[in-house]
């Protein structure tokens, strides 16, 4: 069980961070941007792989994360810039970035693989298997493989994200509530958008450790979406969201470990079920009261 301690710590801090950010993501309608960023990160992983930077050592882990984070932030800011030049058509921007990065990622993976084949001749089959595992981990996450290095990085990054979000809480709330007027009130909406997207890109890369490219964005949407079904007051929404995020992560981890399911998908599935329950509660509660 001690082997799992870093995994549990990482899941906990990442889900607290996801809970807090997801409220803004849902209220500002950025759910799809999260998807765009996480898929863009796949391109970043491809670049790290081709450069030969991988997570076997502490420095390798940090190096790989840095490359992926840099790539994700660039993608997030590029999405923001594209959507500004397309008069706010953010879906087009995400569509472009998401598919381009995925395509880039797969091309680079193949490139890295052929390099690998070339390097050690007789072990080509083994290399393929590694590659498949690696891609599967990147796509769906492998939280149980988290070591203390990764857990420490996740905790630090999550703490920074939470602090910056708290520090900018009024700015973010104003921006998410009524962006068109914030410039007139002395808050650059462009700067606020970029700040939030950088945080979101960092958060998505952290969530990828748990749930992978395909499911990471879900952790930055589901808790907030569920919490908004439960309250129409700002403070309680944030508290519920964090509680739902962490509870979902804890339950999902437990189920995943004990039943042998992959933990990432189990966490996302648990949070989805919680979301469904809150949706039913929201629909039924007024009827029961009357």
């Amino acid at each position: 069980m001690n082997d799992l301690a870093p995994a549990i710590l990482a899941a906990l801090v990442i889900s607290i961070m996801g809970g807090a950010l997801s409220v803004f993501v849902v209220l500002k309608r950025l759910a799809f941007i999260g998807q765009g960023i996480s898929h863009a990160a796949f391109g970043g992983v491809g670049i790290a792989l081709v450069l030969g930077v991988h997570g076997a050592t502490t420095m390798g882990t940090i190096g790989q994360l840095s490359i992926v984070v840099a790539f994700s932030i660039a993608a997030a800011l590029w999405i923001a810039a594209l959507s500004r030049s397309h008069q706010g058509r953010i879906d087009t921007a995400i569509g472009v970035v998401l598919s381009a990065s995925m395509a880039l990622g797969f091309v680079l993976f193949t490139l890295a693989e052929s390099k690998h084949d070339h390097d050690d001749h007789g072990h080509a089959a083994h290399g393929h298997e590694d590659q498949h595992h690696l891609i599967e981990d990147i796509l769906f996450g492998n939280i149980l493989a988290t070591d203390w290095t990764k857990a420490a990085i996740a905790s630090t990054v999550a703490a920074v994200i939470l602090f910056v979000t708290w520090f900018n809480r009024r700015r973010f709330i104003f921006w998410a509530f009524d962006q068109p007027v914030t410039d007139a009130y002395g808050q650059s909406s462009k700067r606020t958008t970029n700040t939030f997207l950088v945080l979101l890109a960092l958060a998505v890369v952290m969530a990828m450790q748990i749930a992978g490219v395909v499911l990471a964005a879900a952790m930055l949407v589901l808790p907030g979406a569920a919490a908004l079904n439960l309250s129409s007051k700002l403070r309680p929404v944030f508290i519920y969201s964090i509680l739902i995020g962490t509870t979902g992560a804890a339950l999902g981890m437990t189920i995943g470990i004990n039943a042998g399911y992959p933990a990432g998908p189990a966490i996302v599935l648990t949070q989805s079920i919680v979301y469904l329950i809150t949706l039913i509660t929201k629909t039924l509660a007024p009827k029961l009261r009357s």
Binding site: L27, A80, S83, R84, S85, Q87, G88, I90, F167, N168, R169, R170, R171, I173, F174, A176, F177, D178, Q179, P180, V181, D183, A184, Y185, G186, Q187, S189, K190, T193, L228, S231, S232, K233, L234, V237
Partner: protein
């Protein structure tokens, strides 16, 4: 502003030979000339109505006063400072044309009004007693104290606009900018709006700029009027708006006038000529939505 002697009363807004041209985008080569050599100043405590057709550059002028756009030529000063500086100090309150805020938000009337002040509070601090007093006063001035704790989604359209006015004054501004505030509101509603602005004007010693294409909205709120149709000049004449002047403003690119308003309903109908407004929109391609920075 030209270097002449200090006027006895400081100007709230000084627009010095300002032009603004929207840059061409992408492969388009035509840039849009939105306003041309506009030159005027607004004395403190004035309630100025700026009347003009759609596409006459009203929203551009507002964005220049707010410092969201920088003039292509000329300069804008607000209380002797750049608009950005004035805004940073909370000297400007702004009521947008349309309420684009997300009304499904889990946020109360009090919290929305607080946002108007929040940008001036240090991030690590809570709202002080002063802040709360200003927020409560703003809510009281627009007569929403009974609804302060209500979620924003529970309010009617008229109440919502009063929330946004309270948000605009919560930061104790000295200048209040109102962008087409009474579109689609009936005459009684415009009169109520005018009365509310009048109360705020007196209570808070505000300078008010109201921009509208609707003569009645201007008449209900402003005590002086200027006409803007791409260019505007301030002539300090006591004459009211005459039908001839209005015809010029709405049909041609013409100099404006201001003075005490005395308008009758007949004139107001003539002022709001949709054909001419439409024509202008074609001519200058500058609608009220242009230049928005949404993403």
């Amino acid at each position: 502003m030209p270097p002449h002697e200090q006027p006895p009363k400081q100007s709230a807004v000084e627009i010095d030979h300002v032009s603004y041209t929207y840059p061409a985008t992408g492969f388009d080569t035509d840039s849009t000339h939105a306003i041309d050599d506009v030159n005027f100043s607004i004395e403190q405590s004035t309630k100025l109505g700026i009347l003009g057709p759609n596409g006459g550059g009203k929203s551009t002028l507002i964005k220049l006063i707010l410092g969201i756009l920088q003039p292509t030529n000329g300069s804008v000063r607000v209380f002797g400072q750049t608009p950005a500086q004035a805004r940073q100090q909370g000297l400007i309150g702004y009521l947008p044309q349309r309420i684009e805020a997300d009304l499904d938000w889990p946020i109360s009337v009090h919290q929305v009004v607080a946002l108007g002040r929040a940008c001036r509070i240090k991030p690590w601090k809570k709202l002080s007693a002063d802040d709360n007093a200003a927020i409560d006063r703003a809510i009281q001035l627009v007569d929403l104290q009974d609804l302060a704790a209500k979620p924003i989604g529970a309010l009617s359209g008229g109440q919502l606009q009063r929330v946004m006015i309270a948000r605009a004054i919560a930061g104790n501004p000295k200048l209040l900018v109102l962008d087409e505030p009474t579109v689609g509101v009936d005459i009684a509603g415009q009169q109520r709006f005018g009365n509310l602005i009048d109360t705020l004007h007196k209570e808070l010693d505000l300078t008010v700029i109201l921009v509208s294409h609707d003569m009645r909205a201007i008449a209900a709120t402003a005590d002086r009027v200027a006409c803007l149709s791409r260019s505007l000049h301030f002539h300090d004449t006591p004459d009211g708006l005459t039908p001839a002047v209005l015809a010029q403003v709405f049909a041609h690119d013409v100099a404006g006038v201001f003075g005490d308003i005395h308008i009758d309903a007949h004139l107001a109908e003539g002022c709001d000529d949709p054909d001419h407004a439409h024509q202008h929109q074609h001519d200058y391609g500058c609608t009220d939505n242009s230049g928005g920075g949404e993403s």
